[in-house]
């Protein structure tokens, strides 16, 4: 028992991730935390997407289940769990059964290396970014098997579209990622890194987000990635595999109940995963804004107040809306519920002002805030854009993004090596 406590405590002073430190206990704790956090994020995204999309479309969205529809995702989850689990007669049962698990596994496994902070990651691999890209592209396997096993035309076409789409956009995505990785090698030792934590630390060391590095090269690489990542996660305007108006629901047409909800879960966690890559590679990961420009204990303190202030703001919004609730007796429970939710958020906000918590959640907060920005973009795209046609999608992927990505990679390399190159040129000229 004493050994165990010591084993647990031995990690606390470490400045490494639990995986890198080899501490199984804390790694398990982190895995559970990430899993729970991700599930909560998906549930929150479900509600937020409906609400934000609704407000963009001059309607209210869910309003009945709980105050402002806050309990809607829970009601949906219950409904999905209680639904009849249908496997079509002609389906390949085993493959049909396995497909959603492949997708979910791929979508969740990538979070092993996502760095929420310098120590807040399950583990730190030296091939982190390759691991993320590799594992996340496994989900196409699940989609193809799902479409195939359904033994139905619409899912089959959806699966074909999906596989072609994901494979082609991975190429452009990879090129954009490589150009960011090239930037990590611009240090004294001229060695780059593929580690997710290393990439963020390189940005800190070079005192610039890779988004603004070699302007405009960084922004172009980021733009390529930002387009490819939408295609990669099958979201509007690239949501052809599940184009509702064409293929009813694409590859998951024949799925229902819990299996369908697994696809749903996987889609949203994949969105979060690719947004995490974008944040890590180009937007400084967990770093707070201006970590080098606005240095010193005063600025540190000011920025560490943000998490608590955000939660207090959200709580305040809840209280404001509680006051605006209809004063009808039938709304009593809803009003109390909303006030309670606001109180909970405010309490979390106050807790975040406590110094020990404040110091530990800062990086997670900034990382999540940046990812949340991407999540909002996803919803915004969906509310604004029509859907691409299949051939146009391929055209954008192969004829626009791929050549741009290649040119960008070469340019980044040239600009990165400009001093050496110039020295060579001078040598030759002399």
């Amino acid at each position: 028992m004493h050994d165990f406590v010591q084993y647990v405590e031995s990690y606390l002073g470490s400045d490494k991730t639990p995986g890198a430190a080899g501490n199984v206990f804390w790694a398990t704790v982190y895995v559970l935390l990430v899993f729970v956090g991700l599930s909560v994020a998906v549930i929150a995204m479900n509600w937020l997407e409906r609400k934000i999309l609704a407000h963009m479309q001059v309607r209210l969205g869910p309003m009945r289940v709980g105050p402002h529809g806050l309990l809607q995702p829970i009601a949906d989850a219950l409904k999905l769990l209680l639904k009849e689990d249908i496997i079509p007669d002609g389906a390949d049962k085993i493959v049909f059964w396995i497909a959603p698990f492949i997708v979910v596994l791929a979508a969740f496994t990538v979070f092993v290396v996502v760095p929420f902070g310098p120590t807040h990651a399950i583990t730190d691999m030296n091939i982190g970014i390759l691991f993320m890209l590799g594992v996340s592209s496994l989900s196409v396997l699940g989609i193809v098997t799902a479409g195939w096993a359904s033994n139905s035309h619409y899912p089959l076409i959806g699966a074909l579209r999906s596989s072609a789409q994901m494979v082609s956009y991975e190429v452009a995505m990879g090129l954009a990622v490589v150009s960011a990785i090239l930037m990590t090698s611009l240090n004294a030792t001229n060695t780059g890194t593929l580690s997710m934590i290393g990439i963020v630390e390189a940005q800190k060391q070079q005192e610039v987000w890779f988004l603004f590095k070699f302007f405009p090269l960084g922004i172009i690489a980021f733009a390529i990635f930002a387009i490819a990542m939408v295609a990669e996660t099958n979201r509007a305007p690239f949501d052809l595999p599940e184009a509702e108006s064409e293929l009813t629901a694409g590859f998951h047409t024949e799925y229902s109940g819990f299996r369908w909800s697994l696809f749903f879960l996987a889609e949203y966690s994949a969105m979060i995963a690719v947004s995490s890559i974008a944040v890590t590679l180009w937007m400084g990961g967990w770093l707070r804004p201006f970590p080098n420009l606005l240095q010193g204990p005063t600025w540190d303190l000011a920025f560490s107040l943000f998490p608590g202030l955000t939660f207090l703001f959200l709580g305040g919004m809840c209280f404001y809306n509680t006051a605006r609730m209809p004063k009808h007796p039938l709304f009593k429970i809803q009003t109390i519920g909303l006030a309670g939710f606001g109180a909970l958020l405010a309490l979390i906000g106050l807790l975040m002002f406590l110094p020990p918590i404040r110091d530990r959640v800062g990086d997670i907060f900034w990382f999540s805030a940046k990812v949340a920005g991407f999540m909002y973009l996803y919803i915004w795209y969906r509310g604004t854009f029509p859907r691409y046609r299949f051939d146009q999608l391929m055209k954008v992927g192969w004829k626009v993004l791929l050549p741009t990505g290649l040119a960008l990679l070469i340019l980044t390399a040239l600009v990165g090596m400009r001093t050496e190159l110039l020295a060579q040129v001078r040598e030759v000229l002399r």
């Binding site: 999309l53 963009m56 479309q57 001059v58 309607r59 035309h153 619409y154 089959l156 076409i157 579209r161 509007a236 305007p237 949501d239 052809l240 184009a243 509702e244 108006s245 064409e246 009813t248 969906r382 509310g383 604004t384 854009f385 029509p386 859907r387 691409y388 046609r389 299949f390 051939d391 146009q392």
Partner: protein, 383 residues
């Protein structure tokens, strides 16, 4: 696919091969499908994503409206026509009432004519708004649907205030109108006109110059003016192919000759041109409404028609420009209180013929776009 017409017609009797050993895929779209605008069933023959040919299967909503007419008096049949093109019920009513009026040789009084024009043109806007919303939804833009439905609501409110019904209005009677315009009708209509103009700009802002929208609609579902005429295609589809044919101008009915408006035409006959034509049509309809509401004369709203209508023996064909195209009524009277035969020439039914020609050689996604751009209403196709 240089000449799409040389393709052999769909042979649906050959057994459907499994997709393992076949290059062609026969896929059944509808009658329950989110984008077939009702219960249209389309059997597609695909090579991958490419459409080799298609066949429409209709009749799922057949209610025998024309047969019902033979067992109803002229007055009793009037509400039935609203159920054909239910998104433009007022136009249907106008066509029927005018056809019977022609048979009876009566004419609606001027005041009734003006109110009829206002309501019909408002209905045209409502119909185009519904078309725009669903068409954009089919192409994947989900937001315009809510914008158009929000604004269409204002039109339906005017209808509701006028006659109590919102959708199947039964607004007109043979010989004029049953109801005098309510107090504040002119004010409401004027308010609507100034309300909806910026809203149409708003729709255009979302779509007209949207890159993806352009790519999805330009060069999609092209049909030439010649083909349109050969197939009998009318309405905005015909005009987008460059043929300036609008019955409101060509064979003026009601009192359309009193109003100043333009007939928009396109050049390419593609989905984008049809979109533009309909957008301009909405603005032109507003123009007509504004002129009409300024000039409503005083007077009765009902002509002298007999209580029991017994039109003289004979036949009449009367057509109007419904939002979807030429809507014609052919009525044969045997001198009794009930028509001997009523034949409706619905624009949706005739326009749907063009689906095959417009879709061959295109992709599956284009079939959806083309069904949307044809603006069909299955209630009218099947009757």
């Amino acid at each position: 696919m240089s000449d799409p017409n040389t393709l052999s017609p769909l042979d649906l009797d050959t057994p459907d091969k499994t997709f393992l050993d076949a290059n062609e895929l026969v896929i059944n779209m509808g009658p329950q499908h989110p984008a077939t605008h009702g219960v249209l069933r389309v059997i597609l023959r695909l090579d991958g994503e490419k459409v080799l040919g298609l066949e429409c299967v209709i009749g799922y909503l057949h209610r025998g409206v024309e047969k019902i007419a033979e067992n109803r008096t002229y007055t009793m049949f009037n509400p039935y026509v609203d159920r054909m093109d239910y998104v433009a019920a007022v136009s249907n009513g106008l066509g029927y009432c005018e056809a019977v009026e022609k048979l009876l040789s009566v004419e609606a009084p001027p005041r009734a004519q003006y109110i009829r024009v206002i309501l019909t043109e408002l209905n045209r806007i409502a119909s185009h708004q519904l078309w725009l919303g669903t068409h954009a939804l089919d192409i994947g833009a989900i937001t315009p649907l809510f914008y158009t439905f929000r604004d269409r609501e204002e039109i339906l409110k005017i209808f509701e205030k006028y006659c109590g019904a919102r959708l199947t209005t039964h607004a007109f009677r043979i010989g004029g109108l049953q109801y005098e315009a309510y107090d504040g009708f002119e004010k409401d209509v004027k308010a609507f006109c100034s309300f909806v103009k910026p809203k149409i700009d708003e729709y255009e802002e979302l779509l007209t110059t949207n890159r993806i929208w352009l790519e999805r609609t330009r060069g999609v579902g092209v049909i030439s003016g010649k083909d349109c005429i050969a197939l009998g295609v009318t309405g905005p589809v015909l005009r987008a192919s460059g043929v300036q044919w609008d019955i409101r101008k060509a064979l003026p009915y009601a009192n359309y000759k009193n109003f100043d408006f333009e007939i928009p035409t396109g050049q390419n006959g593609d989905t984008y041109d049809r979109y533009i034509v309909r957008m301009i049509e909405m603005r032109q309809s507003l123009r007509i409404v504004e002129q009409a509401v300024e000039g409503i004369p005083e007077g009765p709203v009902m002509a002298k028609v007999p209580k029991v209508m017994k039109p003289p023996v004979g036949e009449v064909y009367h057509s109007i420009e419904a939002p979807k195209g030429e809507l014609g009524y052919f009525i044969v009277s045997d001198g009794s209180t009930q028509p001997y035969r009523v034949r409706v020439r619905p624009p949706s039914f005739v326009n749907l013929q063009a689906l095959d020609i417009m879709c061959r050689g295109q992709l599956v996604a284009d079939v959806i776009a083309v069904i949307g751009t044809l603006d069909i209403v299955l209630g009218e196709v099947d009757r």
